[in-house]
């Protein structure tokens, strides 16, 4: 799966950026997957309700911040600076974390990252790990790798637990179980959680209580925890995990060994930069002024928390994203999922339609760049280009611009390419354009008049193949009898 990406650098012999593997590919084209999802009325009802709720919450807490746009500007600039200086900041992070007692590992791709975590878990003599919700470990399919190595991985975030017990895959970055409603969650708990109370109700508080009881013993006895990180601070070697339930604190505090899998783009230059991101992230993601718990640790603290601390820095396609100056800002993403919640396509199709662990607008630009556009060619089209995602993005990623850029790179059918070439030639010259329009108007004149008499509109409903691809979901308007310019001259 791992191969050099297109070398745009012109540096010839240098090590080329490489695309990544893991759960970041659509198994089927987006339209096929989306058609199935849209047909599921329960799914659509669940998604509509959940995204509407979170949109309202986010709007309320963002509107009360007078300097929100200034924070976004700072966030975008800090991330652009990180991308520009990524190699040196990674070296700085490695040096600071190592000096603080952590061991830093490097993984070129998903398979190598999984191998490192398996080896570290075995070295710690553990046969099970507790996990904090992490997109990076979902991306590299760590649970599957651990299971193959005979190590049980227990997800401890409530939504991840629901998805794991339901033998499903996440459908949202922040709330992986967003596609389930409370009744469905109760059903999963009753079926798959042996210690769930017999009279378990479907109130969220009862379901949360069941999860607490189910995981309590596991937390108190776990020896190895695996986490991701929301931020990694280059100048201090600090890792930051933002969460709500306390499962993160449990995993980050009680076990003897802590392994954190971190994408190389997660760096921030300084501890002070958190003053921007810890304002942007909670309000954008859960719509809270601040999430209930944020944990920070720097290597090993004697007699406090894990004494065996590892960080696995993962490339897995990020170097390929960095290599594209237009697509590069996709690495600014802080995984808040605000863009999912405002996207009209995501709200209807749901996360599974995108195939990758990164769904929604950010997934539509990130996944194809991580894998190479040819392997995820349908995803840049999973958007109406309405721009709501750009407005919501706390780090101002211009998602529509990158979508259009990736569409240009995606493979196109020969007939489409030929048509576009001819059109481009016609449109390049005002004289040719006017002539073609005149020809079309004269040619379509009688047909237009006929259609107008028959149906009251100068449109065609159905065309033969291959033009049927166009008329399947929309009418084709015929040229008007008079252009605007002609009309204007007569006035």
């Amino acid at each position: 799966m791992n191969r050099p990406a297109v070398d745009r650098s012109g540096t010839g012999g240098a090590v080329a950026p490489a695309t990544g593997g893991g759960r970041i590919r659509t198994p089927l084209p987006f339209p096929t997957m989306a058609a199935r999802a849209v047909a599921d009325t329960q799914l659509r009802a669940n998604l509509h309700r959940a995204t509407r709720t979170i949109r309202a919450k986010r709007a309320r807490v963002v509107d009360e911040v007078p300097d929100w746009q200034a924070l976004r500007d700072a966030g975008a600039a800090i991330k652009a600076d990180v991308q520009r200086r990524l190699p040196e900041l990674l070296e700085q992070f490695e040096a600071s974390a190592t000096a603080a007692g952590a061991t830093v590992h490097w993984a070129r791709d998903a398979a190598e990252a999984c191998r490192i975590v398996v080896e570290l878990t075995r070295a710690a003599g553990a046969e099970e790990v507790v996990k904090v919700k992490s997109m990076a470990t979902q991306e590299i399919e760590l649970n599957e790798a651990l299971e193959a190595a005979g190590i049980a991985a227990y997800e401890t975030d409530l939504a991840e637990l629901i998805v794991q017990l339901g033998e499903d895959t996440p459908s949202h970055i922040l709330v992986p179980a967003i596609h389930y409603n409370r009744a469905q969650i109760r059903e999963i708990f009753q079926r798959r959680m042996p210690d769930a109370p017999a009279d378990l109700g479907d109130e969220p508080s009862a379901l949360a209580e069941a999860a607490r009881a189910h995981l309590r013993r596991r937390f108190l006895s776990a020896r190895v925890a695996v986490s991701g990180a929301n931020f990694a601070i280059a100048d201090t070697g600090t890792l930051v995990v933002v969460e709500s339930e306390g499962n993160g604190r449990m995993c980050l505090t009680l076990p003897e060994t802590l392994i954190s899998v971190v994408g190389v783009e997660k760096l921030l230059p300084t501890f002070t930069d958190l003053e921007v991101f810890l304002q942007l992230l909670p309000r954008s993601s859960t719509g809270e002024r601040m999430n209930p718990y944020t944990s920070m640790w720097t290597g090993v603290t004697p007699d406090d928390g894990p004494q065996d601390v590892h960080v696995v820095l993962v490339d897995n396609g990020r170097s390929a994203v960095l290599a594209d100056p237009v697509g590069r800002p996709a690495l600014s993403c802080i995984r808040c999922s605000a863009c999912l919640n405002v996207c009209p396509v995501y709200e209807r199709a749901g996360g599974h339609a995108y195939g990758s662990v990164y769904p929604g607008p950010i997934g539509a630009i990130l996944s194809p760049q991580l894998t190479g556009v040819a392997d995820n060619a349908s995803l840049p089209y999973a958007s109406t280009l309405c721009g709501a995602c750009y407005d919501a993005c706390p780090v101002k990623i211009n998602i529509p611009e990158i979508l259009v850029h990736l569409r240009q790179q995606a493979p196109h059918p020969v007939a489409e390419k030929a048509t576009m070439r001819v059109l481009a030639w016609v449109m390049r010259s005002p004289r040719r354009w006017a002539a073609v329009l005149r020809l079309a108007r004269v040619g379509a004149g009688p047909l237009g008049a006929y259609r107008e008499r028959r149906s009251g509109a100068r449109t065609l409903r159905r065309l033969p193949w291959p033009a049927s691809a166009w008329t399947r979901s929309r009418d084709l308007p015929l040229p008007a009898p008079q252009t605007f310019r002609e009309w204007w001259e007569k006035q």
């Binding site: 240098a14 090590v15 080329a16 979170i54 919450k57 300097d67 200034a70 924070l71 500007d73 700072a74 600039a77 600076d81 991308q83 520009r84 190699p87 990674l90 490097w106 993984a107 070129r108 190598e112 401890t156 409530l158 939504a159 629901i162 709330v175 179980a177 967003i178 969650i185 969220p204 508080s205 949360a208 999860a211 607490r212 108190l220 600090t238 709500s244 306390g246 604190r249 449990m250 009680l254 501890f271 002070t272 003053e275 921007v276 810890l278 909670p282 809270e288 601040m290 209930p292 718990y293 944990s295 920070m296 640790w297 603290t301 406090d304 928390g305 490339d315 290599a323 100056p325 590069r328």
Partner: protein, 198 residues
């Protein structure tokens, strides 16, 4: 070539276009000019279902219903004045199982951020290690008014990044079921804040 060297080489190749230096515009607020920060803090804490009490005297009443209380080794003696229950001091360190059977933990904090209702513990004086304020189901936290700042940027200047930190904004909660916030999952299900004048 090691994975480290290869990844760094890939990233350097990826940046061959030489992106220009970036000036970070920091035009956001760094100081809060609201006069009533303690009131703002209380409003935010209550919004997240934390229970707020005023004055060190309130501790006596709170602790009266606690049989077994975990405390850090350096807890000020006067916080426990009149307490008749069992005090479990974290020396030698209490095991997770021992912490799991106490009724509450009593700590201080490092900083509190009014704007977001956030209490920050950094394992400094009166706070103990991280497990202490995590495992017990009820966390009683004393916040001095001189520890209250308005905005996040003000709080960061008071913190040592290398100290292990726990930022707490209300009791444990989840929004994972239909995106409705529910209090009480794995962390302490009750958070009680005692605000005292400096």
């Amino acid at each position: 070539m090691t994975a480290r060297d290869e990844i760094l080489a890939r990233l350097r190749t990826a940046l061959a276009d030489g992106p220009p230096p970036v000036e970070v515009p920091r035009r956001y607020r760094r100081v809060d000019d609201r006069p009533d920060l303690v009131e703002v803090l209380i409003d935010r804490l209550v919004d997240y279902r934390a229970v707020v009490h005023r004055g060190i005297g309130a501790l006596t009443g709170l602790l009266a219903e606690v049989d077994r209380l975990a405390v850090p080794t350096d807890l000020p003696a006067d916080w426990l004045a009149g307490y008749a229950g069992q005090v479990r001091r974290d020396a030698p360190p209490l095991s997770p199982a021992e912490l799991d059977v106490v009724d509450a933990v009593l700590t201080g904090c490092a900083v509190a951020v009014a704007d977001t209702g956030t209490i920050i513990l950094d394992a400094g004086p009166t706070q103990g290690r991280r497990a202490l304020s995590l495992v017990p189901d009820r966390h009683i936290c004393v916040v001095r008014t001189d520890q209250v700042v308005g905005l996040l940027p003000e709080a960061l200047t008071r913190l040592d990044p290398r100290a292990p930190q726990t930022w707490i904004s209300g009791p444990s909660a989840t929004s994972d079921i239909e995106l409705n916030r529910v209090e009480g999952v794995h962390g302490p299900r009750r958070l009680e804040v005692v605000l005292v004048e400096a």
